[in-house]
């Protein structure tokens, strides 16, 4: 029998904190309470935007945020944005203050969870023990977190195992983190087993969600679907469950089910820009234009202050309006947001293309041509566009007599989308509508033929174990389709396997890194990308290269 001591008292004097709350009196009360612990270096923020800008300038040990921040923003969004932008790392303690009624929803967010919660009403002692608890845990995990962030995955795993074997009170936390490390390493079977082990102890939602993700990654889609359907049935507030379920359903070609799933997620938590966007995309694909309009509209209105808002969101909404013959609305979307769009070349491209397409559909050929020439200039300046936008651009070019440029655009899209029927069909429809259907087949055939052949050959060679020739072939395919994340990842995967086996092949290393960087920038959430990044790090380490994280490209269209 042991006497339990009060939690270790931490030295708060050397720590810095940020308090985020929209009520001045509450901020003051937090400040007083923290001062009583000895923590005097406290900054305040009244809004999400203020908090983000503070965190950009200052590093804090502790962040305390109220969940309700007013202005349609909440503490969970603040946390996600800070993590997403890399403004806070695993070493920062994040304490979320919630009302009991939202607590469950916040807990259910599960994936990007705060370190702990403080439920109102609370007192100074509870606040103190929560903070002590977080800091003690951070200290225990410090080296594991450092190893993880430095890409020393094996060391991070060993650290977790130590805690698991040592019957620590962080046993479950260690298992949870180990699951994340294993997934990041692409060791999905082991991660799955680990989650099953937790579930055998208790079927906690996060472990079931983790298991479902590993099933998805192992392409065991029906199992993942079944698990997730039960999970969100039991925990309707588990919003990340809907996201994953929808991804699984899309991969199973059940896009109508995916739409229903996303709709439920959006109803549960309408603020998420990404979820609304996904709902819009899936509905659009299902030709449910009404739902697509609602969702894309929500992205633009709710995303006003969100870092996730992208120029493409305006194109999506504008496109839906054009589709339903509401040209003036389509134009308004662009015009009302002109100043924001003009802040980046991507935004400028969206503005010119959608305005040009509007004019083209109205039959104002000269106007359309003027905008398309502008759009082509933005492209020359390096403006990136989603394939859907490039097809819009092709259509407007075609309608304004810029046939050659249209064909070039279609060819570029097709080269990067030999495996996407949806995009290729869309290209064909555009040409058919212009009465030029026969011309485009040849363009598409020429553009896709080589990539398709190289991909197939490369896959066959890899299967046969001829990694040298498979790598050569797939790297060629990647050069042909530099914007197709699947092609890039296939090439990277095989090349990494080759270098793993034969250190003499290290000449491919730089190219592979570039491919992965590109793939990651195009499809940051692709389920395979994490595993590939880890593999890259391992191979680089093995070949004696210092590994650095992949680079995010270009200035993201952010706000101050």
């Amino acid at each position: 029998m042991a006497l339990a001591d009060p939690a270790p008292a931490f030295d708060y004097k050397s720590k810095t904190a940020l308090v985020i709350d929209d009520f001045p009196s509450m901020r003051a009360a937090f400040k007083t309470a923290l001062a009583a612990f000895g923590l005097t270096k406290v900054d305040m923020a009244a809004t999400a935007a203020e908090a983000i800008s503070r965190v950009k300038r200052t590093r804090y040990d502790i962040i305390i945020s109220d969940y309700n921040l007013g202005g349609g923003r909440d503490g969970q969004q603040v946390l996600e944005e800070m993590r997403h932008l890399g403004l806070i790392g695993l070493e920062t303690a994040f304490l979320m203050v919630t009302a009991e009624s939202v607590y469950e929803r916040v807990v259910a967010a599960a994936e990007l969870a705060p370190d702990d919660y403080l439920i109102k009403p609370f007192n100074a002692d509870i606040m103190r023990t929560r903070l002590d608890g977080i800091l003690a845990k951070k200290e225990t995990f410090r080296q594991i977190h450092r190893d993880f962030m430095a890409g020393h995955m094996e060391a991070a795993l060993a650290g977790c195992d130590g805690l698991i074997k040592g019957r620590s009170k962080y046993l479950i936390d260690a298992m949870r983190f180990k699951g994340e490390v294993l997934v990041a390493m692409g060791r999905h079977d082991e991660a799955g087993e680990l989650y099953e082990q937790v579930i055998r102890m208790r079927a906690v939602p996060w472990a079931r969600l983790g298991l479902a993700r590993t099933l998805q990654l192992r392409n065991r889609l029906p199992e993942a679907e079944r698990l997730l359907v039960t999970l969100v049935g039991q925990y309707p507030e588990l919003v990340s469950g809907y996201d994953l379920l929808a991804d699984v359903q899309v991969a199973m070609d059940k896009s109508h089910e995916a739409q229903v799933t996303l709709k439920r997620g959006v109803t549960m938590s309408p603020r998420s820009v990404q979820r609304q966007r996904r709902l819009g995309q899936v509905s659009y694909k299902n030709q449910d234009i009404e739902e697509a309009e609602g969702a894309f509209g929500a992205v633009v209105s709710k995303g006003k202050n969100s870092i996730y808002l992208a120029p493409d969101d305006f194109a999506n909404l504008s496109r839906v309006y054009l589709e339903t013959e509401r040209g003036s609305d389509a134009l308004r979307v662009i015009q009302d947001n002109q100043s924001w769009l003009q802040e980046s070349t991507e935004g400028k491209l969206v503005a010119s293309v959608m305005t040009g397409l509007y004019q083209a559909r109205k039959g104002n050929v000269a106007e359309a041509e003027r905008h398309m020439k502008e759009a082509l200039r933005h492209r020359q300046m390096g403006a990136d566009g989603k394939p859907e936008l490039l097809l819009d651009m092709a259509e407007a070019c075609l309608k304004s007599g810029l046939d050659e440029q249209a064909a070039q655009l279609v060819s570029e899209v097709a080269r990067n989308a030999h495996d996407s029927e949806q995009l290729l069909d869309q290209a064909k429809r555009i040409y058919a509508a212009a009465g030029k259907g026969s011309e485009i087949d040849e363009v598409i055939r020429k553009a896709t033929e080589q990539v398709a052949r190289l991909s197939k050959e490369g896959a066959l060679l890899a299967q046969k174990g001829d990694l040298v020739n498979a790598t050569g072939t797939l790297l060629q395919a990647a050069q042909q389709a530099p914007r197709n994340p699947r092609v890039l990842m296939n090439a990277a995967w095989v090349a990494l396997r080759l270098m793993e086996e034969d250190a003499g092949q290290s000449q491919h290393l730089a190219e592979v890194r570039a491919l992965l960087e590109e793939a990651w920038n195009i499809a940051p959430d692709h389920p395979r990308i994490g595993g590939l990044q880890t593999k890259l790090r391992l191979v680089e380490a093995k070949l004696g290269f210092r590994s650095v994280p992949l680079r995010k490209k270009g200035p993201s269209h952010g706000r101050p």
Binding site: A7, E104, P121, N123, D125, G133, I172, R202, V204
Partner: protein, 215 residues
């Protein structure tokens, strides 16, 4: 704004004010002079009790038909729980001896809803602060495969009618005292693991013993 929104807004405001009040009281230093410290401690205890009643009211609102669903079960350390509860007791009752105990066979983690469990235990602690003569013990033990978290004091013990009340398992909605205890029972029962259900045990053993048993 419909009635529901209004209700939510009022509740939100009340909670915020209660937090402010509590933090303000907590920030007033003790002076070691009874004329100052005694009313301060009384006020702090009252603040806690108001908060407790408010949480019970919200729980009642949620627990339709007497059933309570747990959505936030996770792994927590029983030892931390005991330490945290003992700390609460110490800080509210400087005149009492507060002991925290964790039996050697208690596992490092157990699965429960920390928030609800805390609410139940705090109710017991508030009661013990009112009734104990000199001593309160918060303890974690393992009993029949269940985690037993208990609050024990050296009071005269529970009156007979309260012990009967728990024995009979009266429904939440019935009138009379014992509301805190009924909530605790509800919370205990909501904890399930496979076929087993949690339970609240109240008994007298040289004082009152309040024990939450969790599967």
């Amino acid at each position: 704004m419909d009635d529901h929104d209004l209700y939510a807004a009022l509740l939100h405001e009340t909670k915020n004010h209660l937090v402010l009040l509590t933090l303000t009281l907590d920030s007033i230093p003790h002076t070691r002079q009874d004329a100052h410290d005694a009313p301060l401690d009384a006020a702090r205890l009252l603040g806690h009790k108001v908060a407790e009643r408010l949480m019970q009211a919200m729980l009642l609102y949620k627990a339709e038909a007497g059933a309570l669903r747990l959505n936030a079960v996770n792994a927590y350390s029983p030892e931390d729980m005991v330490a945290e509860m003992a700390q609460q007791a110490r800080s509210l009752a400087k005149h009492l001896e507060v002991v925290a105990r964790v039996d050697a066979d208690v596992p490092p983690i157990w699965f429960f809803d920390r928030n609800l469990l805390q609410m139940a235990l705090m109710n017991a602690i508030h009661n013990s602060i009112s009734y104990a003569r000199a001593r309160i013990e918060v303890r974690a033990a393992l009993s029949d495969g269940m985690l037993a978290l208990s609050v024990r004091d050296d009071s005269d013990g529970y009156p007979e009618h309260i012990l009967e009340l728990t024995a009979q398992g009266l429904p939440l909605q019935s009138n009379g005292t014992g509301l805190g205890i009924r909530f605790a029972r509800l919370i205990a029962q909501a904890h399930r693991n496979e076929e087993r259900e949690g339970e609240l045990r109240l008994y007298n053993d040289a004082g009152a013993v309040f024990e939450m048993r969790l599967p």
